[in-house]
Amino acid sequence: MKWFISHNTIRSSFQLTLEKECGEKVSHCYQCGKCSAGCPIAFQMDYLPNQIIRMTQLGMEQQVLSSRTIWLCASCLTCTVRCPREIDIAEIMDYLRRQAYKKGIIPVEETEIPLFNKIFLRNIELFGRLYEMGLIGMFNMLSGEFFKDVFLAPKMFLKQKISIFPPRVKNIKETRAIFKRSGKLGKAHRDKLLNPRLLFLNLSRKIIGKIAKRDNS
């Protein structure tokens, strides 16, 4: 492919740290590819799940954490339940995503999912339950997909499937405290949505793309 890796990469502690922190034995993988064979999202991924595991075995932290694959994993667990080596691949993907958040490595082409996750959690932290209008509005605004699904909105209102007002939970302070303490104990950055620079880059990418599309047509 397009990499050159040295013994320094191979000897890095990436795999060992992963095995220790998420408890999954990556070194046990013998690359049978059953995970990739059954992955429903593989057609969109830049690396197949088995390649991600292989790259982890070789200590290629940078490449793994900046891959699109880890964000595209839908956590459907097809790989996990069929792995002959009993490796929980979905859990490894979760771990890699958490690491990518921590290190702020997120590919600019794949900002939607990390952004969505952050907005979703923020939403829960504020309201206790999901406020769909708020989620969609905020996501559309920050991701540059301003008019996404607006045609669906009236239908949803009519069928009372989406409410304009946020849900109400009485003891919202309790929920917020859970968020705060989880962030502290898990040593995760809770507050930052995403790096503003990344958001900006993504926005401009989208808008430029749209303008270019319009010009072409």
Binding site: S75, D94, R97, F116, I162, V169, R190
Partner: protein
Amino acid sequence: MKYAYFPGCSLHSTAKEYDLSTKEVARALGIELIEIPDWICCGATPAHITMHLLSLALPVKNLLKAKEMDSFEVVTCCAACFSRLKIANHFMQNDNKHRKNVEEIVGEPYKGEVKVRHFLDVLINVFGLKNLTERVTNKLSGLKVACYYGCLLTRPPEITQLDDLEEPHLMDDLMKVLDAEPVKWPYKTECCGASFSLTKTDIVLKLSGDILQMAHDEGAQAIVVACPLCQSNLDLRQAAIKKKYKKDFNIPILYFTQLVGLSLGIEPKKLGLDKHIVNPLPLLKERKVLVDK
């Protein structure tokens, strides 16, 4: 039969008809569902992707609220909530390190003592198919349905402990009791794209399109689901699938509770059958399974 009921966010918004029909069916069958007061979101997929502890603490908080109601069994309908609650319980039962952390976060001791059940499980394994057969007044004869279970109802099997991993059959069994005809099809547990509805709509269109295609090919007139995410992906996105892949399936996506409700003679409106994007009423009329009032 008395249970604490955890509806989850979807059932209060996009999947309102699931909530309605579940409550109707429960009422008709004498299953008492008491909504957990002041429940909060279980964290869904974003939580376990972002902060592992949070993804355990949120469900545990809800289970503790159920415990306060003196209820040791929680029923939920959403497959995602079911999965999160079950996983949280699993960690609290088996992982001391995580349990300590989560107990610190929620401020209370908890060892996974509240049992979590899916409503499907309650209906089939507690109420019993035999009892249900006796209550069916309006048979859904001739209605060909594809039972779609999705990813999270059966996976991972050691945690959910609900149904067969690769070929689940609970809903099929249920449909047979209602005299509907479950088709044999291979996509029972294929992924619909789940949480990518908003973020990666293309993926959802492809995966849901494939599922609809397969159901169509195997002769299903409707798809029966037990998960609000599956329902919204398959139902909501059919228009876009039509636009992108030039395929007009027009297959109604129904909750199993709605069909059970119909067979018990409950009015369609009470079951929220008017709330679908792909209107199921013409099909149900054609198949003569609607209750005449």
